[in-house]
């Protein structure tokens, strides 16, 4: 069987084409037919001697167990961890090292869930075996989207064009809404309607992305307005764990108008989907709805087994395996996030503060961040000079040090406190290099975590610069970067997320 899914990383739903999604749905339907016709065991040796590693940094019931079920029914095995308690993550082991260890353990595929956006792209870069995204932060959950699509596909007899679907609950903090709506954007004439509190509403960047991809997105006043105009209503759980400082009581109040109960569905021929779990305190779906014909979410959960089983079969149903040799691609060691700026002539005469011969000038810091930055770098205790200064009546302070090269960690520390610092490397009294250090602005992006050592990388999605890891758009706001410098930098970026090159 030749499959486009063979040994492929499953990171974002946008990586799939319409034929690929349909191919996977057809494979899922075949798994469903085997199950319904009592031939569950007919593929029991398909993945014999194959092992799945599950790495769940966040709680999970369905995703983990359904992958395990799929593996078990295909004759493979599974091993891993669920929750970081009892693993070396508690000893500050990085994602890079933990993933590499799973590769060294002769696993054939990794399923991973992690609280940081973009962590799964990073895991895929590091691993020499395929990686499946089981949810990364508030970013994506592509297999959930695929199983949602499969559920709708099954219930509509294979038709996905012209779909009318409603969204409710928390459209802002969850990843399933993003993944599913992007999955549906592959199909024609799709209309999405939604009703929610502003705080939980559809993120503007997602609405824009969907509009670009030809999906009609309409906001409605009430849930019943949505119900009246859709075939499926996709309810989601308020993601309390991703809203620091918000109490459950506040969320209950916000959800009051938007819970699904018998009144809301009364009189409509609509199927209610939900990625589950339902929060029993908020009860975004009233328990009485469970016993009506509208309830489709448990069937949806079973489709998760079919879909994941089919996916594993497509990915691993071939001979051969990846050999492990302990090496990592060197390009994972450094970022591609330095925007070069033109050097001016030597205008440093008449400087009174610490002329440096060889070292670094960290310029254009945000006002008021000078102390925090110099504390974070702690240059003096590391044995380097650290001179902080400001040019008279200009707001942006700068730091001079004889440290010749700042490490990526140092640069991240600066950029976290003062975005887009200008880094001037001084050699023999001359500015040899002048770059603006860019760091993804998404606060939950894995590239912003210092200890993980993820090198910030960007790619140019047409005119938009995006983070390689969390894929959020990045806007260069440095006032001194000229349009020419910006477009030259954009032109230097890859136009897509290119796979990393492995040594040998």
């Amino acid at each position: 069987m030749s499959s486009s899914f063979r040994d492929r990383d499953i990171i974002s739903i946008t990586d799939f084409s319409r034929p690929e999604i349909l191919e996977l749905c057809a494979a899922g339907r075949r798994m469903e037919e085997l199950e319904k016709s009592g031939r569950r065991n007919s593929l029991r040796d398909a993945l014999k001697h194959r092992t799945l590693s599950y790495m769940f940094y966040e709680p999970s019931t369905r995703t983990r167990t359904s992958f395990n079920t799929g593996m078990r029914e295909l004759g493979g095995r599974y091993d891993g961890f669920s929750g970081t308690e009892g693993t070396s993550v508690m000893k500050n082991e990085t994602v890079r090292d933990t993933v590499t260890m799973m590769c060294a353990n002769h696993n054939d595929v990794i399923v991973m869930r992690h609280p940081l956006d973009g962590s799964l792209q990073w895991a895929a870069d590091v691993a020499n075996i395929p990686v499946i995204n089981g949810g990364d932060g508030r970013n994506e959950h592509p297999t959930q989207a695929l199983l949602d699509v499969l559920t709708i596909y099954s219930m509509r007899g294979g038709r996905l064009d012209g779909l009318r679907v409603g969204f409710g609950g928390d459209l802002s903090h969850g990843r399933t809404v993003r993944s599913l709506s992007l999955a549906l954007s592959h199909f024609d004439g799709v209309t999405i309607r939604w009703a929610a509190e502003d705080f939980l509403g559809m993120p503007a960047d997602l609405v824009q992305l969907l509009a670009e991809r030809g999906v009609t997105v309409e906001r409605e006043e009430t849930v019943r307005d949505v119900m009246r105009q859709v075939d499926f209503y996709y309810m989601t759980r308020p993601q309390l764990e991703r809203m620091p400082g918000v109490t459950q009581r506040e969320i209950v109040a916000m959800m009051k108008q938007y819970r699904i109960d018998l009144e809301k569905i009364d009189g409509f021929d609509v199927r209610v989907l939900h990625p589950l779990p339902v929060n029993s305190e908020i009860a975004e779906i009233d328990y009485r709805v469970y016993f009506t014909p509208a309830q489709a979410f448990f069937s949806q959960a079973e489709h998760g087994i079919f879909l994941r089983k089919a996916l594993l079969h497509e990915m691993l149903g071939h001979d051969g395996y990846q050999r492990y040799d302990g090496r990592l691609p060197t390009e994972l060691g450094e970022g591609a996030n330095r925007l070069p700026r033109r050097r001016r002539g030597d205008k440093r005469s008449g400087m009174f503060i610490d002329k440096i011969q060889d070292g670094t000038v960290i310029d254009h810091l945000r006002p008021g961040t000078l102390r925090a930055v110099s504390d974070a770098l702690d240059l003096e205790n590391r044995g380097y000079s650290c001179t902080t200064a400001t040019i008279a009546e200009k707001p942006n302070p700068f730091i001079k040090t004889n440290l010749r090269e700042l490490s990526e960690r140092d640069l991240k520390r600066i950029a976290l406190l003062s975005p887009e610092p200008t880094i001037n490397t001084v050699r023999n009294g001359q500015v040899a290099e002048k770059v603006v250090y860019l760091l993804c602005a998404n606060t939950n992006c894995i590239t912003r975590t210092i200890n993980e050592d993820v090198p910030p990388r960007f790619y140019a999605d047409r005119e938009t610069i995006r983070c390689r890891y969390c894929r959020r758009p990045y806007v260069v706001s440095h006032p001194k970067v000229s349009p020419g410098e910006l477009s030259a930098y954009r032109a230097s970026l890859p136009s897509s997320i290119e796979p990393v090159r492995w040594p040998g």
Binding site: F352, I353, G368, T390, A392
Partner: protein, 360 residues
């Protein structure tokens, strides 16, 4: 040149001098920057007052068409909330707000924080707010002043009313309080007037050299008048024109101060330019006098004493830039002559012309 200690008046004291006049004279004296003290009327204690001052100073500069750099100190009072506002103003508006000023003894204006317990509160609050800039302090310990010794008919008595011990004791207090509070900025002793205070400041009396554990730096500035003029010049009624805080000291203190300057114990020169009308001086016994006009002559004098150009540049510019962390372009413009005529009187006219002030 930079003058990091000036009083530009204006507002409620526009009769003494206006921002426009002060900045103009400073520019013509060859200065590239002035840092203004906060005891204006009303004082620079709040963000609003500071922003108003910025506006007015910018208007004055625009009207004059001169690019002189105008910096300000925010004043501190013993009220934590006010200190917080001053520190925030410094953090947000630096380098326009160059640092903070504390009057550890009453001078012109009512901004004195005379109680050491209140001074300790200031250092503690600054440490807690992570203030790391320059705190300029007027050091004269109030409890050692002898106001009853002041006799207006004999202006020279001013030196006895504010004795050297008050300055030395206050410098000692500030150093100890700052260390105890783990102050992390730069402690600048303004217009130091006695060699004993300088020695104390430089740690010359400490038996064991400091191991660098103190997180704060110490600097001091010397005014031309404390290096050249002495209390004996104040004997007659006109001596009221020389009344200043801290006072002119008796001989040979000024010569010793000049020695300190030549020896490199002083960080920079500051004029403490503080104009008053002649009437205010003679009738209200106001302290302070204009200083811009004499600064170029003082620099010439230092050069005649053998100081190198580089050393003078350091004393009048480089050291200030480094301590404050503000890079200011030096223009090396020649000063205009006759600037003393801009004011109603010239304190340096009292200077005996033939005397050499560095021989001891």
């Amino acid at each position: 040149m930079i003058d990091p200690h000036v009083h530009l008046r204006d507002w409620g004291q526009a009769g003494k001098e206006t921002l426009r006049h002060g900045l103009s004279v400073a520019w013509r004296a060859g200065l590239d920057a002035v840092f203004e003290m906060p005891n204006t009327d009303p004082p620079l204690l709040s963000r609003d007052a500071i922003l108003r001052r910025v506006e007015d100073a910018d208007a004055a500069r625009a009207a004059l068409g001169i690019p002189i750099v105008h910096g300000m100190y925010a004043g501190v009072t013993p009220v934590p909330r006010q200190i917080e506002e001053a520190v925030r103003a410094w953090k947000d508006l630096f380098p326009r707000v160059v640092g903070l000023k504390m009057f550890a003894g009453h001078s012109t204006g009512r901004m004195g924080i005379v109680d050491p317990r209140e001074q300790a509160l200031v250092y503690r609050t600054l440490a807690a707010l992570e203030f790391t800039g320059v705190l300029a302090v007027h050091c004269e310990k109030e409890s050692l002043l002898r106001p009853s010794d002041w006799d207006a008919s004999r202006p020279a008595s001013h030196a006895r009313a504010r004795p050297p011990a008050a300055e030395v004791a206050s410098v000692d207090d500030q150093k100890k309080l700052a260390a105890k509070a783990r102050f992390r900025g730069t402690l600048h002793v303004c217009h130091v007037s006695t060699p004993w205070a300088v020695d104390l400041l430089r740690g010359k009396h400490e038996e064991t050299p400091r191991d660098g554990e103190e997180a704060f730096r110490v600097t001091c500035g010397l005014t031309p008048h404390h290096a050249l003029l002495d209390a004996a010049l104040m004997e007659d009624k006109e001596g009221l024109l020389l009344k200043v805080n801290p006072p002119l000291r008796p001989r040979p203190v000024p010569a010793l101060m000049m020695r300190k300057l030549l020896d490199g114990d002083i960080d920079w020169i500051e004029t403490d330019h503080a104009p008053h009308t002649r009437a205010d001086k003679l009738e209200k016994h106001a302290s302070g006098f204009p200083g811009f006009a004499f600064l170029p002559r003082f620099v010439t004098l230092l050069s005649e004493q053998g100081l190198s150009r580089a050393r003078i540049e350091e004393l009048t510019h480089g050291a200030v830039c480094r301590a404050f962390g503000i890079e200011i372009k030096a223009s090396h413009r020649p000063a205009e002559a006759g600037l003393e005529k801009e004011y109603e009187f010239d304190a340096f006219a009292f200077l005996p012309r033939e005397t050499s002030h560095t021989s001891s």
